[in-house]
Point group: C2
Chain length 321, copies 2
């Protein structure tokens, strides 16, 4: 798609102000790890169970009346779908979501319940970009990417704006480091724009750590062929975007990869210690902290990005020891 | 113990003001059940994972310096223990907790981590009241009951004060009915005092529904001999108190009993729909709603009273279908 502009810190602040008018801040919890108080931003407690409605709201409210009347199209395994469906319903915009057939049932049902239309595709053999692009063209609808879009990035960055205020109110000071789950990098790059003074660490599942490798190589490297299976359905992005990579690269962000076992251990810790249901992809930043893969220091902000789980898989994660 | 006074609505408001100075309100979430928006008060998100620190704070702050210096003693399977330990630590008061050997590990560890001393007893053969009473006498310490105490009842009632303000802010109006998990009735009677205009429904596990039977009989009936096993460790109270019963009886409160399967189904619903980890005893009010055992009407407030789970049992609840 044509990139019209770069996402900016001013855009993030504008998005945060827009979102503050319709949604309360998600709770920020503090818990100690190795004696250090760490801040946890529970985006899992959003009405759709993930941060994605932030970018969706910022993007869809920027459409003019003619564009709104023609509707929007998105492709997503679930959380972006729900974010778009939520914002579209609230604005009276028709939404069509191209979704893989193996998307978690709970995400699919919630998307349908919000009135969106779902078009299925096969993750292994079909291109969701192609399907969504054709649909959008045929209907004159606006294609809303899940991360390769300045409004989406700015909207997700509103997490960081809220977190700063909450950490200061809790006596934790401003964030020194933000540790952020990373699929395409929309959330991480938005938070980087929101927190110009913080170190940014992105976390991905092992084998899907293309942002980590891209940041090390200083150019975009995609996920390799035949990546390993992962429970982190929300982070299975095979290539980051120029927009997200550029923001993170300019900020000297670094990346970390976590194993499936480390992710499940983080889900268990979140259940026992924070009483939060966190989906695998939403738990990778916490996993990196618990595994000792990032420094544990005062002023650390950990993003728990989503909590939409299929119960069978969640029960397995709770049971593994 | 000697009852010095009755709990009052003014006491609840005083407790709520004291608690508001040290803790933010727990989040209130809205979700639809059969098309009706229902308010959920997530006491599971308290720092100790349950509402119990409210009563503990109101009680311990009412002790004079001499009493504080002699310490406090409590008996509890876990959540009251954590509430007392949390408040005592914050006030620099020594706390001793008499706890059953089969209390959930997570509750025991959290109590120890807050610096309280634990004295074990056997739920089947020993009397915790006797052990705690002797300990308190020997040390000159104050015995803090988990529900048979006007300060404890008033403190727990602060849940209701917060919920009214949050429901009104969310456009849900004032509570028409509060549905509350019930062990000894401290939380339910406190909420009844906080919400003079709402119908009060208490919910207990089947076989442990002595408050329900007591309210129907208009006198206190204890749990029968050999009650069935239940996952609701926090609601295994064999006899309610005059204080709690009187408040609920005067308010024409009614009771409902739920099965273990209904409770597990409520835990799953809370995980999928609210992304909250709720312990069995904390999920019984939601279970009653989902099972259709209470009217589903606008203005309904459901208390999710705690989220301290042992992971193995929680995984079983997530898996059962």
């Amino acid at each position: 798609m044509t990139i019209l502009r770069q996402p900016t810190g001013a855009g993030v602040r504008d998005a945060a102000a827009k979102i503050a008018r319709i949604l309360p801040p998600t709770p920020l919890f503090t818990a100690e790890i190795k004696g250090v108080p760490i801040a946890f931003k529970a985006e899992s407690l959003q009405p759709v169970g993930a941060f994605k409605l932030r970018g969706a709201w910022h993007r869809l409210t920027a459409l003019d009346d003619a564009a709104r009347a023609r509707g929007v199209v998105a492709f997503s395994s679930g959380n972006h779908a729900q974010g778009i469906a939520w914002a579209a319903k609230r604005l009276g915009i028709a939404a069509t979501i191209v979704m893989p057939r193996d998307a978690p049932r709970v995400k699919r049902e919630a998307t349908l319940a919000m009135g969106a239309e779902i078009v299925d595709y096969d993750r292994a053999t079909e291109s969701r970009e192609l399907i969504a692009g054709r649909l959008a063209e045929a209907r004159g609808a606006t294609l809303v990417p899940s991360f390769d879009d300045p409004w989406i990035i700015e909207g997700q960055g509103s997490v960081g704006v809220e977190a700063v205020a909450q950490m200061q109110a809790a006596g934790l000071g401003s964030p020194v480091r933000a540790i952020v789950p990373c699929g395409g990098g929309g959330l991480a790059s938005g938070i980087a724009l929101a927190l110009p003074g913080a170190a940014i660490t992105v976390v991905e599942p092992e084998g899907w750590d293309d942002m980590r490798r891209s940041l090390e190589a200083s150019w975009i490297e995609p996920v390799g062929p035949n990546p390993p299976p992962t429970a982190c359905d929300s982070l299975m992005t095979t290539r980051v975007s120029t927009l997200t990579f550029d923001v993170l690269s300019r900020r000297d962000a670094t990346g970390v990869a976590v194993s499936e076992a480390e992710t499940a251990a983080a889900q268990r810790w979140a259940a026992e210690r924070l009483r939060l249901v966190i989906e695998p992809g939403g738990a990778v930043a916490l996993a990196a902290v618990l595994a000792g893969k990032v420094p544990i220091e005062p002023g650390t902000l950990v993003i728990l990005s989503g909590g939409n789980v299929d119960l069978a898989g969640y029960a397995r994660a709770m049971n593994a020891t």
